[in-house]
Symmetry: C2
Subunit: 145 residues, 2 copies
DNA sequence: GTCCTAGTTTTGAATGATTCAAAACAATCG
DNA sequence: CGATTGTTTTGAATCATTCAAAACTAGGAC
């Protein structure tokens, strides 16, 4: 149940060198139920239980969690930043160009070398990020409706 | 010379169904000299010749040009939108995580199949966008200085 | 268990990028 | 050359995000 998750979440926070506050636990829980929530979505999910939580706190928490490596921030064009708990695997995302919905795309193992660019313009590359654009099932079904 | 380019630019605009205004020509010229300029950069480049150009006009023009397919808009995380004239080839970009500089990366032919995702979460995919992150030559040379 | 202190959150305000709306204007067609 | 419709100006508003100072609290120390 939800109650049993909390100790684990508190542990993760402590392990990452962060204080285990109610808000932080709540933010992590929010992200586990809403895999690609933005700051507003997280706030909305947290408010029922912790009504005094401010927007700034959410940004602060998400920033701290991101810095600590507990969450990953994704910023698709035209959308506010989204946050997710799936970290440590370099999976990618597919964004619905109609409604902004986001889906996970597992990184196809063995394909990694293909992401090595042919010309680097002299840049030193550290990461390759892939974003797919298309239509989510709902929008593909009824684009206008 | 710069003067000889103008007729061509005007032609392109007309061909795209857009009126050939001074500002639009100037914006196109700005983008040809500054390959990955943002709205502010374009405005700065246009102002010397057309001092009355407003920020909103630049946004309007860039939007119109983008819709018409004459320019491509790229929006790296943490950076204002950039615009470029290189269209029609699906090349990608490398962004300096230190200073935000952007370089072009030619799409490695033959690698395209690797961009086919393994699982699409039910989405219909139309585009795959790759962004590389790293350090530009300058920042790699002296990261702190 | 209580106190202290550094790390957190609240409160309040500001910033930057971008967009909206209405009025003034100008490129193109006839 | 005049009308029409698309474009730009002017002026203001919106959204996501960040800054700063004061109030607060988790967790270690005693």
């Amino acid at each position: 149940m939800t109650t049993t998750e909390m100790p684990d979440l508190r542990e993760s926070l402590r392990a990452a060198g962060l204080r285990a506050t109610e808000q932080r636990v709540a933010v992590l829980q929010a992200l586990s139920s809403q895999p690609h929530a933005d700051a507003a979505g997280v706030l909305a999910a947290v408010t029922p239980t912790l009504p005094d939580t401010s927007v700034q706190a959410v940004y602060g928490i998400l920033g701290a969690l991101t810095d600590a490596g507990l969450v990953r921030r994704i910023e698709p064009a035209g959308s506010p930043a989204r946050y997710e708990l799936r970290i440590g695997d370099n999976h990618h995302h597919i964004v619905c160009s109609n409604c902004g919905a986001i889906g996970d795309v597992d990184c196809a193992v063995g394909h990694a070398p293909c992401l090595t660019p042919s010309s680097t313009s002299g840049f030193t590359i550290t990461t390759a990020e892939v974003t797919y654009w298309g239509l989510c099932p709902d929008c593909a079904a009824g684009p206008v409706a």
